[in-house]
Symmetry: C2
Subunit: 505 residues, 2 copies
């Protein structure tokens, strides 16, 4: 416990980020922290909904915020501060232990990634050994509450149970990655062959048989859990909605209003899921207001990856849902990784501000660690994320030199569209380099003029390509990133800097 | 058993239908009979599918064929030959006994209709007492097989079990009106609050846990049942698909092919259901060919009402799915009652013929009764249907004097669009009269020039309106049809002929 004031400014120095005009002076009481995490919510899918707009009006919105292309990799980065290239949980983890979710491939051997997810015990194979964020917070006096999807690792791995990674309270989260059913009257289950579905949502027995939607059940559970936190005790609420992941089931409270002549039926159901999330956000904001907690609660609203853009199961036309962004969930194109990200914290953040600084999900770890006062606790993992406090305090601050890295040496799905598999990427400033393993080609985009990644300018800018390929290679090697080998020859695929020779055509 | 030949012609005489050029000489062996009944399939929904086209090319297609607006009324008419105005099963029957499915109404009292469905025992209240078609056939040496949806009455009523109405074999049919799930891996069930769904499909245990779709499971069951019929024994197969009723769930075998830029996702799922039905039809046709049964098997392909056109649960825009027909399931407009109807019977029917003669579902009873040689058996119910054999034999034969009657003195659903509730109708020749109880107004359409029922010509043709209103009134009174009473005054609503006074405006 600290009761001396200090300047966070000094902490930021190591990141080379100085902005003399703003700083955050921490003092008791510690801020409450809420991570409001939505599953598979596309970049702009919630932008027109009222409570999200309210959040934006009272916080800072990051226009260039990123996650990984898939859910478990993002969740592991958030909880550890480590980039996916390093933590090697580069695909979603199967509910059952020791089962890779890589789709069979004919060209490449699958890499030996951390298929079991987050590890807290050295004896667990194929896990990424960590000191998890909730444990740091708990040890520093926070009441730590997880409500909703966890999906940190496979069943049987300690970290699959949120209580083992530092959550005091854990409701409805386990090794599963999506709900069997969103409906209380189905007990959030949909049995297969008479047995419970392996994706039945656990721990919501009090809502079984009720006419309630999962998003609402989680919200009520979260607010009830907050109500049980003793006054003076700061809380960390990780409210992690299963929505808007598949199955894209209509929220009966809202779906009727989304039917009109222009909307696909599955899109109407999708929008009803989004509406349910927005309602949940509104309920949380209202709760904070009513309990005089708004001022010193930092809310981080984000999605875990881009919007799903495969049809089926999404409605409409594949690869169009995140327009103007290219592609969707699973891809290193913007549609797969760019996410909505807003931070509200009245005590620190200027309302209605927009930051264009590129940020990535592992930054949440470092940021929360800083604002909770646990930045000096040792962690076993290497942290790649940065503390975003300077950007929260000054939305005009932009670091155009930082390199963001995405690494997905896996085959996610059967379809092989839009770099949804076997790809890495790098962003520095407005330049974005993509390495498509299957073609063993590089693509270069200028996001400033081409957010849709339509104009590959590799041949127009060979020097820039070469420079970025070198940086990407260096970053990947530094992080001991895995690359796949060719089947047959068992030769490693080339590093990005090895395929830039004949760019000048 | 008959081994003397006779002319069916003489039987037809009583209906005033004579066509000297054609007749059907019956001889042993008795024809096999298949009723291939689809649920909620709209008029033209299957018209482009290959096996249906094959059926059309080898049989007679009735362009102006009708059912009732809803499923139980149609099924009761089919099994009894009685018009809905008379049998009084004018809404769908609830799975549970003594539960009316009428939606609460503010204007009218609900009529005391036969909410329990088909009756075979006088002690059963609110049933229509009958001698059912399968029993007639069974008693005349037919092996009678029901596979799929029955929905003849509520649970606890004898007729809810197909074996009690004359089916030797009964698979998957009961009091339920739609499946809880189409999926074998869900055991065709979707439990609610941990208990089996009341609409779980019974009797398909051998497919539980399998990767099989309901339509396929029923088809395989039907063909297996046919394989068990002894040679020389004629069969009556009532193959009654749950498809394409809600829940509109994608058939995974086909749905991918229906996704394109122009199709709503639920429509794609709907089309995959239709495709599954078409595949089933193809399998049945193939089975008959392979077993040399085609020549003397009469197949009656039909739907039980018009296509569902409510959104949700159907995709797209309400009231558009049966274009050019107006409205859909539940309505007495053409979209609710006009159905696909094809009869294939190589021994009798000329291939690739089209009949424009208006026919209605109770005609199947009389037709099957005739071709199976049971037309002289007494039945307790009054039969309104006619024997269609002359029309099967001569597609050019049209009776423009016959009156077809629809009667729906019920409120089906909450929404009150397109006469989906509280309506009666009459068709004679190309004239169609509709009586909308809620407005207490008549509508007149000329189907020859206005199949979409867009131009109400009541005021242009007051005399025709008056004439038809008189006939409709007479038919309804003859059949002891029920009309609702106003709430409050308890006064009966007017008969159609009582509201034609001020038509000349």
């Amino acid at each position: 416990m600290m009761d001396i004031k200090f300047l966070l400014f000094t902490l930021l120095f190591g990141y080379g980020v100085c902005n003399a005009g703003t700083f955050y002076e921490r003092e008791d009481p510690k801020p409450n922290i809420i991570v409001f995490l939505v599953d598979d919510l596309g970049w702009q899918d919630i932008s027109t909904f009222p409570n999200f707009k309210k959040l934006v009006q009272t916080g800072v919105q990051f226009s260039d915020a990123y996650a990984t292309p898939l859910c478990t990799p993002t969740r592991v980065s958030l909880i550890t501060g480590t980039n996916a290239a390093r933590h090697r949980v580069t695909n979603w983890t199967h509910p059952d232990k020791d089962r890779s979710t890589d789709y069979p491939d004919t060209i490449f051997q699958h890499v030996d990634w951390n298929i079991n997810g987050l590890g807290i015990d050295q004896s667990e194979n194929n896990t990424f050994l960590v000191t998890p964020l909730p444990r740091l917070l708990k040890e520093n006096g926070y009441r730590t509450i997880l409500v909703g999807k966890a999906h940190f690792g496979s069943k049987g791995i300690a970290a699959s149970n949120p209580k083992n990674i530092g959550f005091d309270v854990s409701i409805a989260g386990s090794e599963i990655g999506h709900p069997a059913s969103y409906f209380g009257w189905e007990n959030f289950d949909r049995p297969r062959n008479g047995s419970p579905n392996r994706n039945a949502v656990p721990g919501l027995e009090k809502f079984h048989g009720q006419d309630i939607f999962l998003t609402e059940a989680l919200t009520q559970s979260a607010l009830a859990a907050l109500g049980n936190v003793e006054k003076q005790t700061p809380f960390f609420l990780y409210l992690s909605h299963y929505a808007v992941h598949t199955p894209i089931e209509a929220d009966p409270r809202y779906v009727d209003s989304f039917y009109d002549t222009s909307v696909d039926s599955v899109e109407a159901a999708y929008q009803s899921l989004v509406k349910g999330v927005d309602k949940s956000l509104g309920d949380v904001l209202d709760y904070l207001e009513e309990n005089n907690l708004s001022e010193n609660t930092a809310i981080f609203f984000l999605s875990d990856n881009g919007g799903l853009s495969r049809v089926p199961p999404r409605g409409g036309v594949s690869d169009t849902h995140n327009t103007p962004l290219r592609s969707g969930k699973g891809s290193v194109y913007e549609g797969g990784i760019r996410i909505p990200f807003v931070v509200k914290w009245p005590k620190v953040v200027r309302p209605q501000s927009v930051s264009k600084n590129p940020v990535i999900v592992e930054d949440l770890f470092s940021t929360i660690r800083a604002i909770a006062g646990v930045e000096d606790r040792e962690v076993v993992q290497t942290v790649d994320g940065i503390n975003l406090l300077p950007y929260l305090q000054d939305a005009d601050l932009v670091d155009s030199t930082r390199a963001l890295v995405w690494h997905h040496p896996n085959r996610w799905i059967k379809e092989d569209f839009s770099s949804s598999s076997w790809a890495s990427a790098l962003r520095i400033g407005n330049w974005k380099l993509i390495y498509d393993y299957t073609k063993q080609e590089l693509e270069l985009y200028n996001l400033d003029s081409d957010i849709g990644e339509k104009q590959n300018v590799v041949h127009k800018h060979p020097e820039k390509t070469k420079e970025l390929a070198g940086i990407l290679t260096q970053k990947l090697k530094q992080r001991e990133a895995q690359l796949p080998r060719f089947k047959g020859t068992e030769k490693l695929i080339p590093w990005p800097n090895e395929i830039v020779n004949d760019l000048k055509k």
